[in-house]
Every structure is written in C-alpha cells, then in structure tokens.
Symmetry: C2
Subunit: 274 residues, 2 copies
C-alpha cells in the first residue's frame, strides 16, 4: 500500500488511490466477475496501450461482461493520471469489474523490474498440474495462478509452469511459455492460452529473426527428457526470460535464442518512446 | 446495496455496512484468495453456526490461507451484529480474505427464500460443462459458477448442473445434487464436491428415513435417458428443492423423496431454535 501511487481513476474520475475500493457484499466482487491488464509506463508513456485496452475489451467480450467504456477515454484517463502524479515509470493496472454498474479502475505501482542475473543465469521453474478456466481471457479467476505460484515459490522457483491433463506445458501463472529445439520454437496455440501482448511481439520477433515457429505446446515429458535446448517465459514486465531448471532438468547458459528475442522486444519498446 | 444491513463486522470491529470494502490494488483481492460462508439467521439465531465456521476454517486450511481467527470470537462477533441491528431474519455472509494481514468480514442481507411453487412444481435445471478448481473448498474462485448460472438463467433455468469431463453431474453452482432411483439415492463423494452443511443434513435424513445412499455422482447420459425418478438440489437457503426438467427430460411431481427430506431438514432447523 505504501508503494501505491497518490491517485487512481474510477470511471474517469480522479480519486485518492486509497479510495480504489470495492464493496465485499457485491455479487460481482465475490464471483470475481472482472478482467484486467497490467502495462508499463516508461518515460511517462504507456507502452502498447492500445493493444492492452483491446485485449481488456477482448477479455470482457469473452466473459460477456458489458460495459460502456471506450478505448479513447481510457487512454485519456491514464494520461490524466500520469500527468497528475508526474509518473515517469510505473506498472499500471486497469481493472474492469462487471455488474449492473460496471467499474473501471486504473491504479499505478512502482515499475516491476528484475535483476540482470535473472536473464544471464535464467530462473527456476516449477511444475503445477492444473488448467485455467477460460484461459484466453485475462479474468479475475486467478486462484489457481495464486496457488501455483505460491507452490513454485515454496520450491525456490520463480514461476510455475501449468501442465494440462494431456501433459502439455501451456503457460505460466503470469507468463507465456516458449520451448526451443535448435532453430524451431514451440508454443501453445492461442486458442488455449492467454495471448500476451509480449507473446505477440515475440512471435513477430521469431519471424523477424528467421526462427521457425510451431504452434504446439511442449510436452512436459519431452521437456524433462531433454528434447529442448532452451525454455523461456514471456510477459510485459519480463520480456523473454530464460528458464534454467525444471524439476531435475537443467538448461545451460548462454540462452542464445531467448536473449536474441528479449533484445529485439526491448528494442521495439524503446522505439515507441518519445 | 439498499438491501444491506446497517452494520457489518471487520476483524471483530463493528463498522458501517458501507465500509465493508477491499482495496482493488491488493494481490489477494485480485487473485480471489479468500473463502466464505453463507448462513441463515432465524429468530435472531444463526443456524448451524459452528458447522459453518468449521467449514470456513476447513476451506481456509485447504487453501493454506493463514489467519488468526477463532471459532468462539466469530460467534461473538456475529451475536454482536445481530444485537446491534436487531436482526431477526437474515442471510449472513462471512468472508475471510487471505494476505499478510488477513481480514474477516461479516455482512447481513435479507433472508433469501423461495416461493412455495418452487418446491411443489420443481425448478428447471440447465447443463454446464466445467469443473471447479479445488471443489472441496468454498473459495472465491467463482467465475465458473457465475458464468454457469448466467447461462442457466438465460435458458429460464434456476440452477446450472456442473458436468465434469467424465459426464458426471457433480454439483450445482451453489448447491449439491442428489438423484433418486426408487429408494436409492445417488450423490457425488465428498472428495470431489463442496460438502454443503445442508448436504450433510440430507445425508443424515437419507439414513433416518431408510433410503439407501450411494456415493456415486449421476451420469448425465443416464439422467437424460430416464434412469432417475427424482433429481434435487440442496443448499442452506433452499433445503432440498426438486428439479422438474433438465434439457428435454422432465421429472414428474409429486417429488415424494425430495419433499420427505426437505421437511425433515427444515424440522431439524426448527428444533435448533430457541
């Protein structure tokens, strides 16, 4: 709470951040009938804002969560918040809760970043068997993600890899997943996972750098048997981050493919800045 | 909101009901890391309060949601709320949210009741294919329930019957399910569903009335093929309520078994009153 910005937005109105509250007696609150986005502000500019708002609306439509909000007004509201609190860098969350009267909150927190060693040495992954409900949509149905990530943390891992009933490694708790077999890169088709904004950039990068993209989720068994040379996770805050270890199996640095894609994705971000 | 009581409880403190709020920027809020109970107050007495609090703690333990609360103090807090607002009848919700600082809310709403015709004529059920996450625990991971119930309502149905990957009818969105084949009554084993407080009473009633209880969830295919003579749902607010129709298949009144169990469960409730 101390790390929260001074102000927030509720349905276009500037409010004190401490007033970004929801009543616990509301059905939509209890049932988690909401969708959200996390995005970065760098040099006072929201990165890929339109894509994030489009995905917010895609998630809302997927849940048939009706709301009156327009892309342009959300952009304006965020601009107003950035200006009011003189935000240079931040991780911004847009939360859209459904209900008879839908509500859109915008809040800002310090920019989430990771140590350089996470990229050079990779991070540990843990396995969690479970399937997200309506995985294409970034909804507030996140208890599985919470418990899977806590399970990972308890093992000293940075991310949990969610494995479905078929043994497929679909995605992480807040990341997408890619597995490299030489110049071939495997990832789950977008019909069964959350299509991350950064995932989308990485897919463009894969084409740009001449790797071969295959829309198949890696099998856990094959992964642990050594089929893949690199495994990495992607998200808005992480870019592309290499996994160094899953259960007993180790991936060795340097993570050449992962780093090439990470650099490209970060470079594209910089190009959008003023 | 107009139907909410005047006051609520937060961690033992009496607050205005309108102040029962949670900050949207908190991780535990976003991730739905909470458990809850709904119970009835009749004649100013909370029905089966100890069993509800025990299940609340069972759910919390299932999620490894740590909290400092004790059964006795929650009982005292609810008594204080009942006295302060002179509550005679109400549906009370106890919500326990996890986090570094866990929070327990008690709120009261008008007692939820149903027309007598729902019992005499039965209510329509709809089918929803989906599996709850950690189904034994009454957690805030409820988006599936919300969407399934909305799907049912859009078909003019009162409840959605959740069918798992094996075609088993496990439970409703806020109810347990029982299917009668003559004197045999089938219901899912407690390892795969939420063990309702009323489900527990009905199971006692089945033994008391000499029916045969079989811990097997009914198969949807068999249900639609006419294997079962009655189908009913149970919950704290409903007691035992007959289903009159699922998809095209109709169950004919009188719902003798359902009514006998409903009467017994309601009678037991009355016996607990002062």
């Amino acid at each position: 709470m101390e790390s929260l910005g001074k102000h927030a937005i509720l349905n276009g109105e500037l409010i004190a951040a401490t007033e970004a509250l929801l009543p616990v007696w509301e059905k939509e609150f209890l049932y988690g009938f909401g969708v959200y986005e996390s995005l970065k502000v760098i040099a006072s500019k929201a990165i890929y804002l339109n894509e994030h708002i489009e995905r917010l609306f895609f998630s809302a439509a997927g849940l048939a969560l009706r709301h009156p909000f327009k892309v342009e007004e959300i952009c304006e509201w965020l601009s107003a918040l950035i200006e009011r609190d003189s935000i240079e860098e931040a991780t911004v969350r847009i939360l859209l809760m459904g209900g008879i009267e839908s509500r859109l909150f915008i809040t800002a927190e310090p920019l989430l970043t990771y140590p350089e060693s996470f990229y050079s040495s990779g991070v540990k992954g843990a396995i969690y068997h479970g399937e997200r409900f309506l995985p294409r949509y970034k909804s507030c149905s996140l208890l599985l993600n919470y418990i899977a990530l806590r399970h990972a943390s308890s093992q000293g891992a940075f991310e949990a890899l969610l494995v479905d009933r078929h043994g497929l490694v679909l995605e992480g708790t807040r990341t997408n997943i890619f597995a490299c077999e030489g110049e071939k890169i495997f990832t789950a088709p977008k019909t069964v996972v959350l299509e991350g904004v950064t995932r989308h950039k990485i897919i463009r990068g894969i084409e740009e750098l001449g790797y071969e993209l295959i829309y198949e989720a890696p099998l856990l068994d094959e992964l642990l048997a050594g089929r893949f040379s690199e495994l990495f996770i992607s998200s808005t805050s992480m870019g592309a981050m290499p996994i160094s270890q899953v259960e007993g199996y180790k991936f060795e640095a340097p993570f050449r493919v992962t780093h090439s894609l990470h650099s490209l994705v970060r470079e594209w971000e910089r190009l959008t800045l003023p």
